[in-house]
Every structure is written in C-alpha cells, then in structure tokens.
C-alpha cells in the first residue's frame, strides 16, 4: 500500500497503476460460457461494484479473481505483476482477501480467534517454537486495536463467541478480517444480503473505511441503492461479458438496470473504464 493510495478520491489518479488487473478472462463450464473475455481494473482506494442479473457471470468472475476457480483464458496482474492462482490461499498470499456469501467464520470461536483464523500468532521463544503455544494476549490486543481503528463500536467484547453475535456483527467480523493483515484487495460477495437497515449501514461504512485505508474493494451486490451509495465505479456484467463500467454520477439506477437487462448500451467513450 502506497501513501498516495490512501486518498479516497481517485478522479485525478488516472495515471496510477491498477492494484488488480484482469484481461480477457474466459471460463467455460462444458458447453456453457461462464465468462466471455472479461476485463476488469481495480485501483487502490476505490470501491468497484460488480452488478448483474443472475447468470451474468458475477460469481464466476469473483471466483476467478479470488483463486476459487482457475480461468481457462486470460491474464491477471496484482500491482503489475502477473499472477495465476490455483487456490484461495495463493490469492490471499498475493494480498487478495475474500468474504464469501456463506460467512467464512467459525461460530463457536471468539472474535479474536476468528480474525486470526489460519494465521495465528505464536508466542516468542520456547513456548512458541517447541510447545507451539499461541499468543492469545497479542492476538486479542491486535484484534481489539484493529476493531477500534475501524471505528466499530458494536463489537465490545473481543472474547465473545461469534455465534452470539447478530448477523450484521458477524458480517462485520468477516469484513474486518479482510483489512487486518496488510492485504491490498478486498472482495466482498453480497456482504449486506440478509441484513437489517442499520446493520447494512454499519457494514457499508466499514467498506468505505477499508477504501479510505487504501484498499481496493470489489463489492458484489444486488442492492442498487447500496451500490450507488458506496461504489466509486460500477462494473456491469451481462451474459458473461462486461456490458459497461459506469459511475454513480454518470448514470442513474434506472440506467444501470437497463444496461443489466440489455435495454441500453453505453458507448465506450461514455464509460469509466480507466
């Protein structure tokens, strides 16, 4: 993460290097075309929404980007370096954190343990290297600091089991996880589905906080008002391809729906591909 990346405004950063770049992604499922050559660019410090009707290739695109699926064709670059992920773990090492629609949290474990799941800190010295003991104190401290730095007030007790949290609080834990380990890219798949109004607002605020910290955020959502409220740019998928990339300023929600359904096309020069 660079210093300049921390600015949320990116209108004057068109010369900046994309943090994630995908070109010509193709994914076939037998004879069904999942993706037909999709391009996507994500810059640090922006929220790029991905919308589209069911079957438009949103999930396939996200799975390719997060390493859950290997595309048949196409290239991907993270910070200008070519990558090809064979697993979500490889994507994570490259700095891409994904929050899946099915919450990737372990309900019986506490918040701190969940934040540090699969990257636990061990104690220094003998206790850590030979007895392999975990440094619970450090993990709780860091987790608590991280939660505080995000301005999340709803999670008070870091030792609380996740299953005792509300849906929104769980989602906040899952989203907070993405920003906790110096990752550069957060992919959020329907993070506000099944949440109440207030909880949705909390999660979206957290999404903007992640952006303001300089992460590139990809937000998949069906909820148009959420998308227009939060996103800097909107990538619209249709029939396995990219129909257009617009901004909330350049187009209305009606336009977005029209593009999704094919009722409207946007000329290249009116798009916000960057």
């Amino acid at each position: 993460m660079t210093e300049t990346a921390a600015t949320p405004q990116q209108s004057d950063t068109s010369s900046e290097q994309p943090i994630l770049e995908a070109e010509g992604l193709v994914k076939l499922f037998g004879r069904v075309v999942g993706l037909r050559g999709v391009d996507l660019r994500l810059y640090p410090g922006e929220v790029l929404a991905v919308i589209g009707d069911n079957g438009a290739g949103k999930s396939t695109l996200i799975k390719c980007l997060s390493g859950a699926m290997v595309p048949d064709r196409g290239t991907m670059k993270v910070e200008g370096k070519q990558v090809s992920f064979k697993s979500t773990q490889e994507a994570r090492v490259a700095g891409i954190e994904t929050v899946y629609q099915t919450l990737a949290v372990a309900p019986a474990l506490d918040i701190a343990s969940n934040l540090y799941l699969a990257r636990e800190i061990r104690r220094p010295g003998f206790a850590g290297s030979v007895l392999r003991m975990l440094d619970m104190k450090a993990m709780r401290q860091h987790a608590s600091d991280h939660i505080k730095s995000l301005g999340i007030s709803t999670l008070q007790n870091i030792n609380q089991a996740v299953e005792t949290l509300s849906g929104g609080q769980r989602q906040i834990v899952a989203v907070a996880r993405t920003g906790a380990f110096g990752s550069k890219i957060a992919i959020l798949d329907e993070p506000t589905a099944a949440l109440g109004v207030r909880e949705t607002e909390q999660v979206l605020r957290l999404v903007r906080d992640l952006r303001d910290q300089g992460l590139g955020v990809i937000l998949i959502s069906h909820n148009m008002p959420n998308v227009f409220e939060t996103a800097d740019r909107i990538h619209i998928q249709r029939l396995g391809g990219r129909a257009a990339t617009i901004t909330p300023e350049s187009h209305s929600m009606q336009d977005a729906v029209a593009i999704m359904t094919g009722a409207m096309t946007v000329p290249e020069d009116e798009q916000s591909v960057r």
């Binding site: 990737a104 019986a108 699969a118 975990l134 089991a161 005792t164």
Partner: protein
Amino acid sequence: MSNEASQEAETPASAEELVPTGHTPAQRIQHILHGNPALSPLIVLVLSIIVFGIFADNFLRPQALSLLVQQMAVVGALAVGQTLIILTAGIDLSIGMAMVLSSLVMVKLNHDNGVPGLLALLIGIGVGILTGVLNGVLVTRVNLPPFIVTLGTFSIFTAISLLYAAGQTIALGPDALLVWTGKTLSIGSVSVTWGVILMLLLYLGVGFSLKNTAWGRHLYATGDDREASRLAGISTDRVLLSAYVVAGFTVGIAAWIVCGRVGGADPNAGLNYNLQSITAVVIGGTSLFGGRGLVIGSLIGALIVQVFNSGLALAGVDPNYQVLATGILVILAVSVDQWIRRVKA
C-alpha cells in the same frame, strides 16, 4: 482447563449475576453452560459421588475410589481419541476394536514371537496409528462419511483380530514391560496404576494442544464449519487426517493400558469399548455436531459412567440397572447439549 472449569463451578459467573440483564434464570444458566461445556458434566459427577457416598456403603473408601479410577482408565484413554474425532463432527465406531488389534499385536509379538517388550510395544502403537491413518485417509481422500468408514473398519479390525489370534486369549507373564501399566503406585491409602497416569498424561497433552496451539484452533473451527474454515485458509483435510492419526496414537496407548489391566490380550473384548468411549465423550458435554467441547469433559464423562456402575454395584442393585442408567445419562446429556446450542445473545 480443568482448573478453569472447577473455579467457574464454585462461583458461577458472579459478575454476570450483578448486571441487570433481561435474561430469565434459565437463560442465564444456558449462557453459563454454553461458555463452559465441561460444567454440566462436572456438576453431575459431584452430585452422583455425593448420592452414592450416602446410599452405597464403602463407596467413598479410598480403595473403592482407586479401583474405580483403574477401571475407567482404558475407556478414559480411548475417549481422548474419540473426543478429537467427535470435535471434527465425525464419529469413530472402530476405536475399541482398533485397540484390541493393537494390543493383540503387542502381546503376540512378545509372547509368541519372542520380540523384546519395548519393540513389541512400539510396533503395537504403530499399528494403532495405522488404524487411524486408514480411517483418516478414507474420510479425507475418498470423502466418505466417518460413520460409514469406521463401521467398515470396525468389521475389518474385528476380523483381522480374530484371525490373527485364532480366537484365543493370550496371557502375559507378570514381569513383561507390557503389563507395567497394571503395576500400582501407592500414595498413602490411594493406589493408582501407571496406566491411570498414562491416561492422565494423554488428557494433559491433548488438552494442552487443543487449547494452546493453532492446530487446536483449526480442529475446533473445522468441526464447527468445515467449508468456512477452508475458505478462511485452513487446510481442513490435513486437520481431519491429523485428528484420526492422533486418535490412532491414543488407541496404541489404550492398548498398552489394557494389556496391564487384563494381563494379556483378548480378541473378544473390543465391542463394548467403542460405545463406552462415545458415551463418555457425549456425557462429557462434547457436541456430536462438532466444534464444541473439551477433552477434560470426556474424562469427567468416563468417570460419571464408572461412578454409576460402581455405585450401583456397591449399593447391591441388579447390574442391569447400570446399563439403564448409562442409557438415560446419554439421552439427558444430548438433550442438554441441544438446549445449550439454542443459546441467544
């Protein structure tokens, strides 16, 4: 872990009682039990010891209590491995028969083939670990449900044991290393066998690892929600396999303890141990749905079963009531678990 549980038992969340929450007393109990899975079995154990202390003569005599602990050592050791499997939301129906096979290998190598005791012991433990590897590979690589896998391996281990031993019980001499676990160690009027100490060491080691290492965290998380754990970056297959391998090791240790206890190996002894180990784990508060429970709970669970058996026997009750009591305990324990799982914030 045991300290924590027993401390909480004496002062049940006094701070929480002061906070004026909107919870009913039942909900508060639900919360406390939810946070301390070993608490309800501990209460049952203490109550049952008190009740049998009153109604069964001689029950609280040190000799009777020593014998009680010696009698539960084998089930107690197997329950360690069974707890690991059940924490991963699996079940091991083959664990008792695997132990019989392992003990037969130890005894036959030593007695019939003249293999030195230590080597026979190590090979026997190796056989125990192999049974775990077999179960683990079938569960993780072939992707079969643990219930089916261990139902199958149970029959396989039974057949191999009976064929290997030709259906006969083999006795060992009193000096062999293999029966060392049956030797007693007297502290005052209390005498424990080395087998009991070995069993307690198993609880200590596995309990420590579950609580303090990343492996333990991952085991709980995998049992809790396997898909979520995989997405979080845990290699769940390796965690599952490791649980079966460690369970295989406890099988080997349990086999050594059973050698000391019966002074040899009996190919027909395995059937009951399977169900007894599951009973101990379930009564000990570990959830059959995975991800929830403590290994110390299984020790308490094994003790509860033995307290009922010994207590009812000393009270002169028909032995069939022991079986009845175990059955009721299991159903009660699972009911309590279901109730606790419905906890709300």
